[in-house]
C-alpha cells in the first residue's frame, strides 16, 4: 500500500528523514537511562530486563520486520493496515493518523513506527514508552540497518544478524540467476492509474537495477507523475503494474487504454501485475519481490534485449 508521502519532494523528504533519524537517535539514547523504567505507571521495570515485552507496530513494514527478527510473540497490537503475517494482532490503531491515548491504552513498552505523524513520539516518550522510528528505507542497506536496529531494540540481535546475512545471500543468488544483458531492459512501474512512477534513484528502482532494468522515468523528482505521451514515446520493454489492488488495473485494462495497444510491451505480453504490498513494504519481504521480478525477467530472451521496434516511418 502506497501512501501519499512517497510524493514528497526529494529535498523535503531527505530533510524529513534526517529529522526523523535524529529523533530516533535521541529516542534510543533515552532508552538507556535508568529512570525510564521506574516512571512506568504499572510499576514493571522494563529497563532492567532490557527487553520490551509489549510491542506495538504502527506500519506494515515495521510489523513484518518485528516478526522476521523473531520478536513477533511480544507484539501485542499492530495498526489496521498491517496484514502480514496473517496472525499479527491487527487492531484499529492507525499509523496514518495515530492516536496517542489509543496507543497508550495497550500499555506498550516499545512502539515501532515509520514516521512521527501527529507528533506522537514526544507524547510516547513523556509516558515512558520507548520509541523506534524507522523512516521508509531509501536503499537495501537501509533495510539491513533497520532490521539490525529492530533486533537491538527487541533483544534479538542474533536473529536479526542472521536474517540480514540470509537476505544478502538470497538476493545475491537471485541477482546471479538473472541472465546478463548488454542493454538494460526499460520498465514503467505504474504506482497508480494517474501514471505516478519511480526513477532508478528509489528503493524500488535500486531493486530493478540489480535485476538489470532501468526506469523510463528520470529527473530530480524520484516519484514523478509521467505524461501519458511520454510513456508511449519511451515505449518501455516492460510495464510493471503495482496498482492492481488499489485501482483494479490489469494487463487487459492497459491494452484498452487509448494508444497503449501500440506499445511493444502490450503487443508482446510484457505487462505484469506485481504484488503491490511487496513492492511498497521495504522490509524483509523485498526478497520475495525480487524473486517475483527475477522470475519475469528470466523468461525474456537475452539475445533480444530491445524488443523489435517499429520502423521510424
Amino acid at each position: 500500500m502506497h501512501r501519499p508521502r512517497v510524493r514528497t519532494m526529494p529535498g523535503s523528504r531527505s530533510l524529513l528523514v534526517a529529522g526523523l533519524a535524529a529523533v530516533a537517535l535521541v529516542a534510543s539514547a533515552c532508552s538507556g537511562t535508568s529512570d525510564q523504567g521506574a516512571d512506568r505507571a504499572d510499576g514493571t521495570d522494563v529497563a532492567a530486563s532490557g527487553e520490551p515485552r509489549a510491542i506495538i507496530s504502527l506500519s506494515p513494514t515495521t510489523t513484518e520486520m518485528l516478526y522476521a527478527v523473531g520478536a513477533g510473540d511480544r507484539v501485542i497490537a499492530v495498526d489496521e493496515r498491517s496484514d502480514f503475517p496473517e496472525d499479527a494482532p491487527v487492531t484499529d490503531l492507525s499509523g496514518y493518523t495515530p492516536n496517542l491515548e489509543a496507543i497508550l491504552g495497550y500499555q506498550p513498552d516499545l512502539v515501532v513506527a515509520t514516521d512521527d505523524t501527529g507528533d506522537i513520539v514526544s507524547g510516547l516518550e513523556r509516558s515512558g514508552v520507548e520509541v523506534l522510528l524507522l523512516p521508509a528505507a531509501q536503499t537495501l542497506d537501509d533495510t539491513y540497518t533497520q532490521l539490525e536496529q529492530v533486533g537491538a531494540a527487541t533483544g534479538t540481535i542474533g536473529e536479526a544478524a542472521e536474517l540480514v546475512s540470509r537476505m544478502r545471500a538470497e538476493i545475491d543468488e537471485i541477482v546471479a540467476s538473472v541472465p546478463e544483458r548488454e542493454t538494460p531492459l526499460t520498465y514503467f512501474h505504474e504506482l497508480d492509474d494517474t501514471f505516478y512512477t519511480v526513477t532508478d534513484d528509489t528503493y524500488i528502482g535500486e531493486v530493478y537495477s540489480l535485476l538489470g532494468m532501468t526506469s523510463i522515468a528520470t529527473g530530480d523528482d524520484t516519484y514523478p507523475q509521467l505524461s501519458e505521451e511520454l510513456i508511449l514515446e519511451a515505449d518501455p520493454d516492460l510495464v510493471m503494474l503495482a496498482d492492481g489492488q488499489c485501482c483494479g488495473i490489469t494487463p487487459e485494462v492497459v491494452a484498452e487504454r487509448p494508444g497503449w495497444g501500440e506499445l511493444s510491451a502490450v503487443r508482446q505480453d510484457r505487462v505484469f501485475v506485481v504484488d503491490e504490498d511487496l513492492a511498497s513494504r521495504w522490509g524483509p519481504r523485498v526478497v520475495d519481490f525480487m524473486r517475483e521480478v527475477a522470475g519475469i525477467v528470466s523468461t525474456l530472451p537475452v539475445n533480444d534485449p530491445q524488443p523489435e521496434r517499429e520502423p521510424a516511418s
Partner: protein
C-alpha cells in the same frame, strides 16, 4: 441591452483568435518529441482531398491523435465550462466573487465523487459524474439558503462566507471518508489536485452532453441575467420570476461544473479570474460576457495545461497548481481594480 458595436466585434474576434492560437499551441507542444512541422503536416493531412505525409511513425500518430489532441480538447471544454459557470453564478448571485469554488460547488462535487469511489470501489467511476452533480447541487443550495437566512439584506456579500463554510464542511466529511478508506486515498487525492493526465476521447464523450445542455440553457438566459443584475423587484415588474430563473441557472451551471470536475478534478481560479478579466475589457453585459468567458476560459486552461505538461518534463505538474499560480495573483490585481464592485 448592449448593442453590437465594432469594438465588440473586435473583442469577440480577438478572443476567437486567442482560442485558435491556444488550440494550435496545445497541439504542437508536448513532452513527446513530435516536431511541430510534422504535427502541422498531420493536421493538414486530415483535411479532405489533401494528401501529405508527415513522416510520423504509427506510434507518434497515436501519441498525437489519441493522447495529445483529446487532452487539448478536454482542457478546452473544462476551462470553458468553469469560466462560463463562474460568470453565470456571478450574475445569479449578483456577486462578482461567486465562483464554483467559493460557493462550495467544487467541494460538494468532490464529496459526491469521493463517496462514489468509496462506496462503488473500483467500479464506482461510472457513478462519479451523477454523484458529483448531486453533491455540488446540495452544496450550492445549502450555500444559498445559509446566505439568505444569515445575510438578511446583505445576501450578496454573506453568500460567499456561507460558501466558504459549506466548502469547509464538505471537505471535512470528505477527509473523514478518505481516512476511513485508505485503499481509495490515492485515487481521491490525485483527483483533488486536478489533472488532465489520463484524459482521452472517452472523457470528452462523457462530459460533452452535460456541457452542451448547460451552455445552451445559460445562453438562453443571457438577457434575463442582465435584467436580474438590476434587482429582483425590477426583474419581477418585467415579468421575470427571479427565484425560478435562479434555480434553473444554478442547476445547469452546477450540472456542467460537476461533469467537468468529475473528470478533471478540482481546478481552481478559472471560474473567478476569467469572467473578471473579460468584464474589465467589455463591461458587465452578459450577452458578450458569456461567450467571451467561454472562449477565454478554454484558451486559458489549454495554455495552462501546456505549462503543466512541459514545465517539469519528464514529470507533470498538477494543472491545479498552474491555474492557482497564475490565477491567485491576478485575482488580487482584479480585487484592487474593482473595489467598487464589492
Amino acid at each position: 441591452m448592449i448593442r453590437a458595436s465594432p469594438r465588440h466585434a473586435l473583442v469577440l474576434g480577438g478572443a476567437t483568435l486567442l482560442f485558435l492560437v491556444a488550440l494550435l499551441a496545445g497541439t504542437l507542444v508536448g513532452p513527446a518529441g513530435l516536431t511541430p512541422g510534422g504535427v502541422l503536416l498531420e493536421l493538414v493531412g486530415r483535411l479532405p482531398f489533401v494528401h501529405v505525409e508527415s513522416g510520423f511513425s504509427p506510434r507518434q500518430q497515436v501519441i498525437l491523435w489519441e493522447i495529445r489532441i483529446p487532452r487539448v480538447v478536454l482542457g478546452g471544454i473544462v476551462g470553458a465550462m468553469l469560466a462560463l459557470a463562474g460568470a453565470t453564478y456571478q450574475g445569479v448571485f449578483r456577486n462578482p466573487l461567486a465562483d464554483p469554488y467559493l460557493l462550495g460547488v467544487s467541494s460538494g462535487a468532490g464529496l459526491g465523487a469521493t463517496l462514489a469511489i468509496v462506496v462503488g470501489g473500483v467500479m464506482g467511476s461510472a457513478l462519479v459524474p451523477p454523484a458529483a452533480f448531486v453533491g455540488g447541487m446540495i452544496a450550492v443550495m445549502a450555500t444559498y439558503a445559509l446566505g439568505r437566512s444569515v445575510g438578511g439584506g446583505r445576501t450578496e456579500v454573506v453568500i460567499i462566507l456561507a460558501g466558504v463554510a459549506v466548502a469547509a464542511f464538505a471537505s471535512a466529511i470528505q477527509t473523514f471518508f478518505m481516512q476511513r478508506n485508505d485503499e481509495t486515498l490515492r485515487q481521491v487525492y490525485s483527483w483533488m489536485l486536478g489533472r488532465l493526465t489520463t484524459s482521452g476521447w472517452s472523457e470528452v464523450r462523457t462530459v460533452l452532453p452535460y456541457v452542451i445542455v448547460s451552455v445552451a440553457v445559460i445562453a438562453l438566459f443571457r438577457r434575463t441575467l442582465d435584467v436580474m443584475a438590476v434587482g429582483d423587484v425590477e426583474a419581477s415588474t418585467l415579468g421575470i420570476a427571479p427565484a425560478r430563473v435562479r434555480l434553473v441557472l444554478i442547476s445547469v451551471a452546477t450540472l456542467g461544473t460537476a461533469a467537468v470536475v468529475s473528470v478533471s478534478g478540482l481546478i481552481g481560479f478559472v471560474g473567478i479570474v476569467i469572467p473578471h478579466a473579460v468584464r474589465m475589457v467589455i463591461g458587465p453585459g452578459h450577452r458578450l460576457l458569456l461567450p467571451l468567458s467561454l472562449l477565454v476560459g478554454a484558451s486559458f486552461l489549454i495554455l495552462a495545461d501546456i505549462v503543466a505538461r512541459t514545465a517539469m518534463s519528464p514529470a507533470e505538474l498538477p494543472i491545479g497548481v498552474v491555474t492557482a499560480a497564475i490565477g491567485a495573483p491576478f485575482f488580487l490585481f482584479v480585487l484592487r481594480r474593482s473595489r467598487g464592485l464589492i
